[in-house]
Amino acid sequence: MRRFLLTTAALLAVATAAQAQTLRIALRQDTDVLDPTLTRTYVGRIVFAGLCDKLFDINDKLEIVPQLATSYEWADPKTLVLHLRQGVTFHNGELLDATAVKYSLERHMTLQGSFRRAELSSVDRVEIIDPMTVRLVLKAPSSPLLAQLSDRAGMILPPKATEAAGKDFGQRPICSGPFMFSERVAQDRIVLTRFPGYWDAAKIHFDKVIYQPMTDPAVTVANLRTGSIDLAEYILPTDVATVKGDAKLRIVSSPGLGYLGITFNLANGERAKSPIGQNALLRQAFEAAIDRKALIDVVFNGMFTPTAQGVSPASPYYVPELPPPGRDLARAKALIAQSGIKTPITVTINVPNQPDQAQLAEVMQAMVKEAGFDLKINLIEFASSLTAAAQGNFEAYQIGWSGRSDPDGNLYAFMHTGAGQNDGHYSNPAVDEALDQARQTSDIAERRALYAQLWQQERKDLPLLYLYAPVNIVGHSAKLTGFRPVPDGLIRLQGLEMGK
């Protein structure tokens, strides 16, 4: 009898341990193709954090730290030398060396349909110095390049297997990360299994990771509470109290890299000819009529951070001397009077059709009405809102950005003359100059000064009215230890462990 009990207990222990070795992570939506060169979605980056190592990573202070490259040096402002980690193999056994790095970067730069091309546009060519050293020769100095190499553009693929898979690589991706691709059922799950040959294997404590897309936040919380998932990468601020009230769960909120703002149409087509598009005083009045803190308190439980700049408060490039102004109704009215335009001033704003965004617009509508603005809300499905923005079919557009670790990734494309996501067609030589110069120096103090200059001009013109910086809110089982929040919001699996 005793032997039977002991055996049963042992079996139970084994069964529990076996269960505890699977980590289940809820994603806010399903990812797109699992090919580092072709992927575009934010949630895709979360899966890649388990699947594909990069040349560099970033830490919680947004510093560049080694991953597949152990160190780097700038031979001159246009030459970056990378020293690779010895003894790293891909999931299929291929060795990671300079040839693989050259192959991968060139694939990112040239493959048809690549989304990494723009990120690596500063690179002219990649040269092999020796099997473990690579030289990147740039067209012009580029300080954001290291940050790009710490994201998808820095993911290294095995040349032979990638060539053999061709266009189907994304269906069974092979990389050098801590976990290997096992299976994917679209809209249901992506399963990764532990890679025994991982170079940093001591930090990996799970045998399997399952990523499950859950689009309904209430369902995500229910799954977390029942233990069906161990970690949710995204918890709504309004669900935080529920999660906090459950002793079996933990909430970790940390600064993110993104922002939400209002882009005004200044020069993109006919609809730019609105009073608010043509008159900076009115845009300043609009801002003065808004109480950012109240907006955040009402819609996001006070959890997000009011901001007036497009760089995360977590970034060393954030300018603390530029706090978001509070509401000043008298100033708003004075600015309108100064503009000479009669009230009510109609402003139509395109708002992606999501409950929190709609609510935000409604609260704002009530606020600016007191100053004399008649804010008309045009709720519009997300994909349609993108088209409208690109075609200039908007006066104001309420839109967010997930954020990049280097400030260039949050600013250049949105504010530089003719840049890709500058939907309002803002153009100012002083801003262009600051953005261009900031790309050419790696000195933090110098870059921060350039961005401070940029903000001086931006605050006058207000082509983009920043409202808040969201925080990353992760919910996880209290048994899960070792979770380290990093501002990019990705879930790094190194160090995560399931306690008893």
Binding site: Q29, D30, T31, D32, V33, D35, L38, R40, T41, Q112, G113, F115, R117, A118, K167, G170, Q171, V185, A186, Q187, D188, Q212, P213, M214, T215, D216, A218, V219, A222, N223, R225, T226, S228, E381, F382, A383, S384, L386, T387, A390, S402, A413, A419, G420, Q421, N422, D423
Partner: protein, 315 residues
């Protein structure tokens, strides 16, 4: 009768062609440029947009796009998902068993609840059990699926811990877990349809029970049970079968909200994701397959009429 059925089968081809044209054209009316959506955060780069449009034939005239697509469909190739770059046929085959299982279970639940309560309501017309059945039916009709789903998750998963809150396990993997994951969504779906079936069964039974042949059958001294099942129900079932086929067809085209709430990877969830991502090949593929299922179910309903009503065999 045989020629009749052959005629119905022959109708399938033009119907499906018409569906293919419709789904292709309707999609063009959808606002939003797929290239912009697919370009994601690189949407500002005109080179990226041009490249996407060329790769996906979006820079070709509509008619060329249609023939390019339908030509491949006729060879059994529904194309590639633009968003996740997997063959649409593989995606459909992945989702079909899920949708069949969920839809099938929901339909069985609907019939088991709807038809008997409809009969009871008709037999006890304007009496207590009729009111009870009507109240149950009304509640089923007026409860939104997503609300009922979330309430059931809170009760049976979060509070009682009896059932998994969401997800799907295939029957082939673990039938016990499979039933556990599908029972709540199947009930949510079946519940709403049961209410519709109940209302129709009740009114069909009421009109059948008023017929002269029922009075004759009773006058002949047949038992109440015999009169109800052999004479009234059999005739009353005709409109219920028609309705059942339509409802089953709707179930198989995917239950968007229910699949969303319970994270069930079926047709509905796939279609919604595809529409939001402007993943046209997936939308077209799923609509074609579900339209085909619909047509086949209607044919099955026609055949079932013949089984239920022998008079049709002579016509």
């Amino acid at each position: 009768m045989k020629s009749n059925i052959a005629g119905r089968i022959a109708q399938i081809v033009p119907t499906m062609l018409l569906v293919s044209v419709l789904v292709f054209c309707l999609q063009q009316l959808m606002p939003g440029d797929p290239a912009l959506v697919l370009a994601g955060e690189e949407r500002g780069d005109p080179r990226v947009l041009a490249q996407i449009r060329a790769e996906l034939w979006l820079d070709q005239p509509l008619i060329a796009q249609y023939f390019h697509w339908i030509g491949r469909v006729l060879h059994g190739d529904l194309g590639f998902s633009w968003h996740i770059r997997q063959p649409v046929v593989a995606l459909v085959m992945q989702k079909l068993p899920v949708t069949l299982q969920l839809g099938g279970m929901a339909f069985v639940i609907a019939v088991l609840i709807g038809v008997p309560t409809g009969i009871v309501a008709a037999v006890y017309r304007n009496r207590f059990w009729d009111y009870v059945a009507n109240a149950v039916g009304l509640a089923g009709l007026s409860t939104p699926n997503f609300w009922l789903g979330i309430m059931m998750i809170l009760l049976f998963s979060v509070n009682l811990g009896w059932l998994p809150p969401s997800g799907f396990v295939p029957l082939s993997e673990d039938w016990h877990q499979s039933l556990a994951t599908t029972i709540m969504p199947a009930f949510v779906l079946g519940n709403a349809i049961a209410a519709v079936l109940m209302r129709h069964t009740r009114s069909a039974m009421l009109s059948a029970l008023d017929q002269d042949y029922i009075r004759t059958a009773r006058a002949k001294g047949l038992s109440n049970w015999h009169v109800l099942t052999r004479h009234a129900l059999r005739n009353a079932l005709m409109p219920v079968v028609t309705l059942g086929a339509l409802e089953l067809g709707a179930l198989l085209s995917g239950a968007v909200l229910t699949e969303q709430v319970f994270s069930i990877p079926g047709f509905g969830k796939m279609t919604v994701d595809a529409v939001f991502n402007r993943d046209f090949p997936v939308v077209q593929g799923v609509v074609l397959v579900t339209a085909f299922l619909f047509v086949m179910l209607n044919l099955a309903a026609d055949l079932l009429y013949v089984v239920i009503n022998p008079r049709l065999r002579r016509s």
